[in-house]
Every structure is written in structure tokens, then in C-alpha cells.
């Protein structure tokens, strides 16, 4: 079982869109996939039409007093399940803080699922918190969407440095450019140059496309409602690269 987390300190960069589409494509490939929507705003749950509610809330889940199994919901797609968000997730840092080894908590919770799933995607809220630290420690790989700006590379370097301070397991980092605006020269230039220069930046990129925005109207992965669109093809290429590098 591999754990992949979509993560960036910044908000609105495409973490959820990526987690939703890659988990769908992984399941299409015949892998057994779980997506955990860790964001109390519940965007991923919404996109799969699943109500953001977990029995006993985040507290029971994190403390282990409720079986994770009982809260998992099947999506409309074969081999793809979702562990929904819950409004109480906004207090997860408090709950984690009260446990023994907060940063190892997520890894411990997921370990028993290894006979049910081949891949688990974690969709994180933005920011740095005890929760994100626990996610970073649990993940085998981090998928980091970057808007192509000079500053975004600084964010990536900061993240890498932060991770290198971990003792024990450190996740591999794979960044990729997201929401590339074809009309902006800077976007195009950065997105073309950097993958060749840096090993931790994927070749595949996700352009800014209105089909991706439509996901919130269709409430489904773009690869499901527009399988031949450019958007679907971009996620397909990203998934192929992630699969080759991270699985």
C-alpha cells in the first residue's frame, strides 16, 4: 500500500482537483483506492457527492475509538472509496495534540487498511499544522501543485528543507505545475524550463482549463464526465508519471 498526499502550504493551487482526478485514474487502472478528505471545507467529498459526515467526528476517528472502516463510503466508481471530511476536522490539531505521538498518528491509523487498498490519497487543507506534519510523516510521496511563479519555487525549497529535518521515514517530493495560464509568458517559460533542471519537478503539467473548473458543477472527476478532454488527458499524463515514480 502506498500513501500519496497532495500538499501545499498555499491555498487554491489545485490540491483537491489533483487528488480527485488521480484517485479516479488509479482506480480505473484497477488499483483499489481510498481518498481521505482531510479538509473541513470538504471539497473532495462534495465532488464525489458524499455528505461530509463521519460518525463520532474527527475526534473518534483520530483517537481510534471508532473503526475507520465504518466511515468509509463507496463512490460512484468501482474500486474507489472515500473517507469523508467532517466539520469537526477544524479541531484536528487539538485532538492530535492530545495523543501520544501526534505526528505518527495518521500513519498508525492507516496501517490496518493495507489489505483493502493499494493506494491511499490524502487531500490536505493548506497551511502548516500538526495535522499536515502528521500527513507528511505518513506519506510515501507528496504531490505538490505549483503555480508557475518564482516565489512558488521558494515554497518548494522550504518544504523540502522542512522534510529533511524529519527523522525516520521522509516522503519523496514530486512537484508539478498547475493552473498554467497559456497567455502568460512567464508561466510558459517556467513550466518548460524547470522540469528539465530539477529532478523533483514533474514533466507533466496541468494547464488552467475551464473543464477543470466545471468539476464543481458536474460533481465528478473531469476524467469521468469528459474523458477525452484536454483536462482529462493532462491528468492522465500526470498520473502516468506519478505511477512510474511513486508506486
Amino acid at each position: 500500500m502506498k500513501i500519496l498526499a497532495t500538499y501545499n502550504i498555499k491555498g487554491g493551487v489545485g490540491k483537491t482537483s489533483t487528488a480527485v482526478n488521480l484517485s479516479y485514474l488509479a482506480a480505473q487502472d484497477g488499483l483499489r483506492v481510498l481518498l481521505w478528505d482531510l479538509d473541513p471545507q470538504a471539497a473532495a467529498s462534495y465532488l464525489f457527492r458524499i455528505r461530509p459526515r463521519v460518525k463520532g467526528g474527527g475526534k473518534a476517528l483520530i483517537k481510534g475509538s471508532r473503526e475507520i472502516d465504518d466511515s468509509i463510503k463507496g463512490t460512484d466508481f468501482a474500486d474507489l472509496d472515500l473517507l469523508p471530511a467532517d466539520f469537526t476536522y477544524r479541531n484536528l490539531d487539538l485532538v492530535l495534540g492530545a495523543t501520544k505521538k501526534p505526528t505518527r498518528r495518521i500513519a498508525r491509523l492507516l496501517a490496518p487498511l493495507s489489505d483493502q487498498y493499494d493506494v491511499i490519497f490524502l487531500d490536505c487543507p493548506p497551511g502548516i499544522s500538526l495535522l499536515s506534519e502528521s500527513v507528511l510523516q505518513a506519506a510515501d510521496s507528496l504531490l505538490v501543485p505549483l503555480i508557475p511563479t518564482v516565489l512558488s519555487l521558494r515554497t518548494l525549497d522550504q518544504l523540502t528543507e522542512f522534510i529533511s529535518g524529519f527523522n525516520g521515514q521522509r516522503p519523496a517530493v514530486l512537484a508539478f505545475f498547475s493552473m498554467i495560464d497559456a497567455r502568460k509568458n512567464l508561466h510558459r517559460e517556467i513550466a518548460e524550463r524547470l522540469p528539465a533542471e530539477r529532478d523533483d519537478v514533474a514533466v507533466a503539467t496541468i494547464p488552467a482549463l475551464s473543464q477543470i473548473e466545471r468539476m464543481s458543477v458536474e460533481r465528478a472527476p473531469v476524467a469521468a464526465f469528459a474523458p477525452h478532454s484536454r483536462a482529462a488527458q493532462s491528468y492522465q499524463a500526470l498520473w502516468a508519471e506519478v505511477r512510474a515514480r511513486a508506486l
Partner: protein, 544 residues
């Protein structure tokens, strides 16, 4: 994959009956249906062993082929489903030869050495429908299934709607099942489709059993009771002939032989309850039939035990023993052919026909002995003989004396089984258990001896073949040694086993049994009353 489903059966659409659309419409407004999937045509084969081991365990096994990959689906009456991919399979087949998976894991131990046969075949039009909640999220699937049976008889089964929950939506699926059931105007669980498929052909599942299930009344005339038992034994015998000829699995022949031996015991022990002219005429014919079946059965026993025997070799190896296996298989082929010839012969069909004629033509006198009295008298006599002959056996008695005692035990056993329905069931089970302990020991003693003798004969036959490696004969020698030791162990245990059988406690249990058969007393019962077949016969099993 294990899932739970809720099945709703629609009444065969007559006037005033709700249609499938009516029933589905009841889901509104809480649920809506997604666009229906494309209908598929699925070929469906229901499978069970000849003696209905799966059905008796409450299980239904189906083999489904069609546009999707073939699968085996096992379901319980409560709605639990397990499935596994199956590939191309042909029936009959042994469960141990099926591809491994969760279905095979459940059925293999149940079916054991019995082959899985097609009990019925059908063609189904299957369509999957999504059930959506207010968020247009799929919470369950409904599989609509319209099945046309084409074997054993043509029949249209009522349409079925099977609701399967999407993970995490069990409560909604339960609700959907209830709504559909209410709309269909049906309550309670629908029957099993296999049962309906068989009913259309005038058949019922679990009709076959190798147990004697004739229900005797204590007041019945003894002759009437024997007539009923013998007719059922003949039914069982005949039921096993086609499977024996087709060589489907070893148990057809086994059950056929048990019927023959039980019949022979009744003929021998009936005394004047049956006309002497009748018993004299058929005893020789049934002996012929019994002898006809012996060589194949002996080889079956060898082959059934072969893996275990080969695995127990210490000096030799299974590979070295292989020529012996080939020899057994070849001999079995030869014996099976001569068995088949015998069962297809005019002599056999005349025996079966005339025996049935003679039995049905028997006149049952109003005055004669009653079944319970005959049973008690015969059982006491047989029991006495076992005690007498067994008591005379000492540590250095010849083997023949133990073989004779084994025959007496068998007679007692068959009497118990034949008259089982006259006794208190618990007293019957206790007495049977006492006897089984002794029988097992005597059986082990004689069977191991016979197998050693046969082994010598096989070795002689194999020497006649060219190119038999010496290592094969050496490995067979090791087998003979193992058999000899097993026989010796059985001989050493005999005194203890017999001691248990002859103990005062066991004797008391036997007395309790015989006195539980409603002998004489106030109730006279109905002399010559007809025998009923009990649905779940509680007679003893067919031990060999």
C-alpha cells in the same frame, strides 16, 4: 468479494399485480433511478452435489457466463453473496478442481469427494440500475433479473430485483429493499430460484438421500414395513445407476453398494416376515450384483487413499510409487468397464424390474407379526450373537473369527438403520455410537488385511508388465509394511473396543433402545398401515 443484498421477487405479472415499473416507481421521491445500464444475457447454471450438500447447508451456487467474465456466485438465504472469477468450466466437476477463491474455499469442504452437477440451467436477461439519493449520489444498485429456465424443464421464473448497497450506504439499501418489497405486495423472503426451477419440472431439491427415511409405525405389519424399506432401497439403488455408469464420482457406486447390502441383509434377516420363495429367488441375484460392484469399489478405496499413503512413505518417495498409481488407474478403467456392462445387462434390468414387481405385488396379511415386534426380536438376536462371538475371541484367535464378528456387527447395524424410525431418536444415536466404535476397529483390521493381500496381487500383476522399476515395488513393500502395522494396531485395540461394547452401560443403552420401539401394550396401531416418507429421515448413515 463479499456483499450483502436484499432480494425482492415480483409476483408473476397477472391482472392487478404490480408491474416492475410500478414497483420501482415507489422509490420516489426519496430516491431516483439513474439511466439503466445495457441489458445483458447471462447463462446461469445451478450446481449442487447429487445428495444436495450445498442446498442442505442453505447455500446456492451459480455459475454465470455471458458478456462479462465467467464467475461463480455463492449465496445464502439471508442475502450474503460471495463471488469469484471462474473462467471456462464444464460440469460435472469436483470442487477441488475449481480455481481457488473465496467460493471454492467454502464449497470444497462441503462437497468433499462428491462432484458438482448442473441441477438446473437457465438464461437470464440482467439489467443494472443505479439508485440515487437527493445528491444524485449512487447509494445502491438494483439488478433486475428475468430468468427463463430451460433445464430440467422450461419455465419462466418471477422477475427478481436484487438490491446491493454501495459501501457505507447499508441503511439506505435496506430501506430501498423494504420499499420495493412493500410495493411488490410481498412479505417475507422470496424462495430460492433453484427450488422454483426444479418445481417446474416436478422435482424438489434434497429429494435424494442415501439414508433410509421411510417412516414406519410400530403397529404396522412387519411385512408392510419391510416392503416399504425394500422399495426405498430399490429406489436408491436405481437412482445411482446412471451416475455409476457415467462414472461421475465414486459415491454413486458407494451408495449403490450400500443399497444392495442393506437389501441382502433384509432378505437374510426377514425370516417368515417375507415369503420364503421370494427371498430364495432374489438372494442369489443380489449377491451377483454385490459381487459385480466389488472390484471397482476396492480400487476406488485405494485411489481415494492414495495421496495419503504416498505422503506417508518414509524410505520410498511418491515419485517412485507412481507406477503403482498408473497400475491402479488402468485396472480401475478395466473394472469400471465390466461394471458398466453388468449394469447395462439384461440380467440387471430383469433383476430391477422383477424385484419391484415382486415387492409391489406382496400381499400384507392382516394378522401377521407387527413391525415393532419383529424389529425388537431381530435386534435382540443380532445383539446376542455379537456378544457371544465377540466374547469367544481371545488374543490368539485366528483372523477369521474377527471377520465373522464384523459380519454380525454389520447385520446389527443394518437392522438398526432399517428400523430406525421405530425408536426413540436419542436412544438410537447412543446405541449406534456404541456399535460404531467396535465396527471401526473390525473394519480397520479386515480392510488393512485385504489391502495387503491385494497389494501382493498388484505387485504380481505389475511384474508381468515390462519395465516396472524395482523402486516402485520397494515403495509398495513399504506400503504393505504400513498396512501391516495398522492392522496390528487394530488387533491390539480390539479387546478394549469389544470391552466397551459389551460393558453394562452399553448393554443398558441397547435395552433402552429396544424397549423404546412401541411394542405391544395399549395401542394396537394400524396393522398394514402404509409407510410414509419423512422429509428429513433420521435413519443412520450409510457406513461402509
Amino acid at each position: 468479494m463479499q456483499t450483502f443484498s436484499h432480494v425482492v421477487e415480483l409476483a408473476a405479472g397477472g391482472a392487478g399485480q404490480p408491474s416492475e415499473d410500478d414497483v420501482l416507481a415507489a422509490l420516489a421521491p426519496r430516491f431516483t433511478l439513474g439511466a439503466p445500464g445495457r441489458p445483458r444475457t447471462v447463462r446461469r447454471t445451478w450446481l449442487d452435489t447429487f445428495d444436495w450438500r450445498l442446498h442442505r447447508a442453505g447455500l446456492t451456487l451459480e455459475y454465470l457466463t455471458g458478456p462479462r467474465p465467467a464467475e461463480l456466485v455463492l449465496s445464502t438465504a439471508a442475502g450474503d453473496l460471495v463471488s469469484q472469477p471462474a473462467g471456462r468450466l464444464a460440469w460435472p466437476a469436483l470442487a477441488e478442481d475449481l480455481p481457488p477463491g473465496p467460493v471454492t474455499a467454502v464449497i470444497a469442504p462441503l462437497a468433499g469427494i462428491r462432484a458438482l452437477l448442473a441441477a438446473a440451467r437457465a438464461t437470464s436477461a440482467v439489467q443494472d440500475l443505479r439508485v440515487l439519493n437527493a445528491d444524485t449520489k449512487t447509494v445502491a444498485w438494483i439488478r433486475a433479473d428475468r430468468t427463463t429456465v430451460d433445464h430440467p424443464a422450461a419455465a419462466q421464473l418471477p422477475a427478481r430485483l436484487q438490491v446491493t448497497a454501495v459501501r457505507g450506504y447499508q441503511l439506505q439499501a435496506q430501506r430501498i429493499g423494504e420499499v420495493l418489497a412493500a410495493a411488490a405486495g410481498l412479505n417475507g423472503h422470496p424462495g430460492r430460484p433453484l427450488d422454483a426451477a426444479l418445481a417446474a419440472a416436478g422435482q424438489r431439491p434434497e429429494a435424494y438421500s442415501n439414508k433410509i427415511s421411510v417412516q414406519l409405525g410400530p403397529g404396522m405389519a412387519a411385512r408392510g414395513a419391510l416392503q416399504a424399506v425394500l422399495l426405498q432401497l430399490l429406489d436408491t439403488l436405481e437412482a445411482n445407476v446412471p451416475g455409476t455408469i457415467r462414472d461421475i464420482d465414486t459415491e454413486f457406486l458407494h451408495d449403490l453398494r450400500v443399497s444392495v447390502r442393506r437389501t441382502r441383509s433384509v432378505l437374510k434377516l426377514a425370516g417368515d416376515a417375507l415369503p420364503a420363495s421370494l427371498t430364495a429367488r432374489f438372494r442369489a441375484e443380489f449377491k451377483w450384483l454385490g459381487d459385480l460392484t466389488t472390484p471397482t469399489r476396492d480400487l476406488d478405496v485405494y485411489l481415494l487413499n492414495y495421496d495419503e499413503m504416498a505422503g506417508a512413505l518414509v524410505s520410498g518417495t511418491p515419485a517412485e510409487l507412481e507406477p503403482f498409481h498408473a497400475h491402479l488407474a488402468r485396472r480401475r478403467g478395466i473394472e469400471q468397464r465390466s461394471l458398466t456392462r453388468g449394469l447395462r445387462s439384461a440380467r440387471f434390468s430383469r433383476l430391477a424390474r422383477e424385484w419391484r414387481g415382486a415387492l409391489t405385488g406382496l400381499t400384507v396379511p392382516r394378522a401377521g407379526e407387527r413391525a415393532a415386534d419383529l424389529a425388537t426380536r431381530r435386534l435382540r438376536g443380532a445383539h446376542r450373537r455379537v456378544l457371544r462371538q465377540g466374547g469367544a475371541i481371545s488374543a490368539d484367535s485366528p483372523a477369521e473369527q474377527l471377520h465373522d464378528l464384523r459380519k454380525r456387527c454389520k447385520e446389527l447395524r443394518y437392522l438398526l438403520e432399517i428400523f430406525a424410525s421405530l425408536f426413540d431418536p436419542q436412544a438410537y444415536q447412543r446405541a449406534l455410537k456404541d456399535l460404531k466404535g467396535l465396527q471401526d476397529c473390525l473394519g480397520e483390521f479386515q480392510d488393512r488385511q485385504v489391502q495387503q493381500e491385494e497389494l501382493r496381487e498388484f505387485a504380481g500383476q505389475m511384474m508381468g508388465d515390462r519395465d516396472v522399476p524395482a523402486t516402485a515395488l520397494l515403495a509398495m513393500g513399504e506400503l504393505a509394511g504400513g498396512l501391516g502395522r495398522a492392522q496390528r494396531r487394530a488387533r491390539d485395540e480390539f479387546a478394549e473396543r469389544f470391552g466397551e461394547f459389551a460393558s453394562p452401560a452399553s448393554d443398558r443403552r441397547f435395552q433402552e433402545l429396544t424397549s423404546s420401539a412401541g411394542t405391544s401394550g395399549g395401542r394396537t396401531g394400524t396393522t398394514g398401515g402404509s409407510a410414509r416418507r419423512s422429509a428429513n429421515g433420521r435413519a443412520g448413515d450409510a457406513g461402509e
